[in-house]
C-alpha cells in the first residue's frame, strides 16, 4: 500500500514527532519523490538557521535569581 503524507506530517517529522513506524515510510517516500525531498531538505536548512539563533540572559540576572532563592523565607 502506498502511504501518502500530509504537509503536517512533514512538520512532525522535522521535529521528530512522527512515530518511528511512519518515519520509515516517509523516508521511503522521500527517496522516491524529489519534490518532497527538496522541500524537506529546505526546511531542515531553515531549522539549522533557527538553531543558530540562541540568545543568553546576562550573568547579573542569573545571580539575582540564585540570590533570591538562597534568601527565600517561607
Amino acid at each position: 500500500m502506498v502511504q501518502t503524507f500530509t504537509q503536517n506530517d512533514i512538520i512532525k517529522a522535522l521535529y521528530h514527532e512522527l512515530p518511528a513506524s511512519e518515519m520509515v515510510h516517509l523516508e521511503e517516500q522521500l527517496e522516491n519523490d524529489t519534490e518532497i525531498q527538496n522541500n524537506f531538505e529546505d526546511l531542515n536548512v531553515l531549522k539549522l538557521k533557527l538553531d543558530s539563533l540562541v540568545l543568553e540572559p546576562s550573568m547579573s540576572v542569573i545571580s539575582s535569581i540564585l540570590d533570591y532563592s538562597r534568601s527565600y523565607k517561607k
Binding site: N8, I11, D42, L53, I62, K74
Partner: protein, 196 residues
C-alpha cells in the same frame, strides 16, 4: 555525582529538599531556551530579562512552597509561566508587540562559534539580525507556535493545549511560519542578486 546526567525531575527533587546548587544547574541547563523564547516574543532585551527573572521567581516560590506537581515536565512548565507573564505584560500595556530590531544588539551572545574572523562575526550577526527581523514579521499566531516549538521545545500537543487549538491547527501554523520565513529569505536573496 555528575549533575549533567541527572534528570530535571531529580534536580527539582534535590532543590526542594534543600540543595540550592540544583537550581543553578536547572537555570544553566534551560536559560537559553527560556530567554530566547521570551526575547523573541517581547523584542526588548531589558523587558525580556525582567520577565525571565519574574518567571524564575514564580518557579522558586512554587517549588519552595511544595506546590510543584508537573512531574517530568519542568521546561514546558517554566515556559508556560514565561508565556503567561508575556501575555500579562501586553495586557497591562494594552498593546501588541511593535516590530523593532534596534534593541539588545550588544548584550546577547550567540553560542557555538569559536575562532572566527571579524568579517565572519559581522556576517553572522547580520544574518542573525535579519533572521530575528523576519521572525518578527510573521503573523502573531505563527510566530508564537514557532517560538514555542523551536526555542521552547514544547511538543505540538503541548502548544495546542496551551493555545486552545487542535494539534492540526498548531501544526498548520508552524508549517505556514516556516514556509513564510523561507519565502521571505528567498525574496531577500533575489533582491540582492537583482541589485548586484
Amino acid at each position: 555525582m555528575n549533575r549533567k546526567l541527572i534528570s530535571d525531575q531529580d534536580l527539582v527533587n534535590l532543590y526542594v529538599s534543600g540543595q540550592e546548587s540544583a537550581l543553578e544547574e536547572l537555570v544553566g541547563r534551560h536559560k537559553s531556551k527560556i530567554y530566547t523564547s521570551i526575547y523573541l516574543l517581547v523584542k526588548d532585551s531589558y523587558l525580556a530579562e525582567d520577565i525571565f527573572q519574574d518567571t524564575f521567581i514564580k518557579v522558586i516560590n512554587t517549588l519552595k512552597a511544595g506546590k510543584y506537581n508537573e512531574e517530568g515536565k519542568f521546561l514546558p512548565w517554566v515556559l508556560r509561566i514565561a508565556h503567561n507573564l508575556v501575555i500579562d505584560h501586553f495586557r497591562k500595556e494594552k498593546r501588541t508587540p511593535i516590530v523593532t530590531n534596534t534593541d539588545g544588539f550588544d548584550i546577547f551572545e550567540v553560542l557555538g562559534f569559536v575562532e572566527e574572523s571579524i568579517e565572519d562575526k559581522m556576517l553572522r550577526e547580520q544574518g542573525h539580525n535579519e533572521l530575528r527581523r523576519l521572525i518578527q514579521l510573521l503573523p502573531e499566531e505563527q510566530k508564537e507556535v514557532l517560538i514555542m516549538r523551536h526555542y521552547g521545545d514544547l511538543s505540538f500537543k503541548e502548544i495546542a493545549d496551551l493555545t486552545n487549538v487542535s494539534i492540526n491547527t498548531a501544526l498548520g501554523r508552524m508549517r505556514y511560519a516556516l514556509n513564510n520565513l523561507r519565502k521571505m529569505m528567498n525574496q531577500k536573496e533575489y533582491s540582492y542578486r537583482q541589485a548586484m
